[in-house]
């Protein structure tokens, strides 16, 4: 059987070849790999992906529907949860807006627009950091008058832990916080004698005077005892 030719005539009597419905279906099938249904119900179920030059499909549904799928197809683009596919610019704008938005504490944010309010919201009011600046590598040795050099300009205070004095019971380890003010700060401890050592903390270090004790109750005579108030560790304290 020979194939019929159909012609389309224009107003100027020019003619050109026309196509039957079957020929149109065949052309679509060849182009898309799919045989379309009748025109009134027709959907193009596959489109050509331009990079790998292969056919891909679109699937749209809810997350529950997606999860219910028994298997997925690597040639199908799945659109979940929205019937609007936003442009990349729109998505970036939405992300930027979310980043600018103050997130509540329960969602991992601070719920605040200032550092002070954030500390309050997070329960950090009064919190501080401690940085170990120095540690005594020979704690059984005496500790004579001396200066330990540090840059303390970024700290709010210094905390020094002194060891329990050898041979004197009842004192225990002493922790003392010093203000960074360059002022001599005497410490006292009483056992069977009254001991004292003055400490001065400035922005460039800690200066220890020698430790002394009073040789008699109520008197003013003193003797050196550098095994007392021996510093073990020095911390820099910074308020958060």
């Amino acid at each position: 059987m020979t194939e019929r030719n159909y012609w389309v005539l224009c107003d100027d009597n020019c003619r050109f070849p026309g196509m039957t419905r079957e020929q149109i279906y065949d052309a679509i099938a060849e182009a898309t790999g799919m045989t379309p249904t009748p025109v009134d119900e027709a959907f193009i179920t596959m489109i050509k992906e331009q990079n790998a030059n292969h056919n891909i499909k679109f699937w749209h549904g809810t997350e529950a529907q997606f999860n219910a799928l028994e298997e997925t197809d690597s040639d199908t683009v799945y659109v979940i949860g929205t019937n609007k596919v936003k442009s990349v610019d729109a998505l970036e704008a939405a992300v930027s807006e979310l980043q600018e938005e103050v997130q509540p504490v329960e969602r991992g944010g601070t719920g605040a627009t200032s550092a002070a309010q954030a500390r309050t919201n997070l329960g950090l009011h009064g919190a501080e950091t401690r940085t170990l600046l120095w540690t005594n590598a020979s704690p059984s040795s005496a500790f004579a008058a001396q200066t330990l050099t540090f840059d303390l300009s970024e700290y709010d205070a210094v905390e020094i832990i002194y060891k329990e004095a050898d041979g004197y019971s009842g004192i225990g380890s002493i922790t003392r916080r010093h203000t960074i003010n360059g002022v001599s700060n005497p410490m006292f401890a009483n056992t069977n004698r009254c001991f004292t050592r003055s400490v001065t903390v400035s922005t460039n270090g800690v200066t220890f005077a020698g430790a002394i004790y009073y040789t008699s109750y109520g008197g003013s005579s003193t003797a050196t005892e550098n095994s007392f108030f021996v510093p073990m560790k020095i911390y820099g304290i910074r308020e958060v």
Binding site: L132, L133, W134, T135, N136, A137, S138, S140, S141, A142, F143, A144, A145, Q146, L148, T149, T215, S216, Y217, G218, G219, S220, S221, A223, T224, N226
Partner: protein
């Protein structure tokens, strides 16, 4: 490694660990036995040179009087004796 904090006569005042000391302080791998302040560090060696133990001064007359008054007050307080 240890860092030495030295006095002007090279006596060891204190020691700490490498990371806590200024660069200019000398570093050593080991420390001498006992109280490090009994040593000086001279020409990269520890020299034993203990500080003489200070002799407590004799209490002055003023101090002895103050001590006696304190002792009397303490005894009186403990025995309910009115002075």
């Amino acid at each position: 490694m240890y860092a030495l904090n030295l006095d002007t006569d090279n006596r060891i005042l204190s020691v700490t660990f490498d990371e806590y000391a200024p660069e200019e302080q000398p570093r050593v791998e080991t420390l001498p036995e006992g109280d490090v302040t009994d040593y000086k560090y001279i020409d990269n060696e520890f020299v034993y040179d203990p500080v003489p133990q200070p002799v407590p001064p004799e209490p002055s007359l003023e101090d002895r009087v103050a001590q006696n008054e304190a002792d009397i007050a303490f005894v009186a307080m403990m025995t309910d004796v009115e002075l």
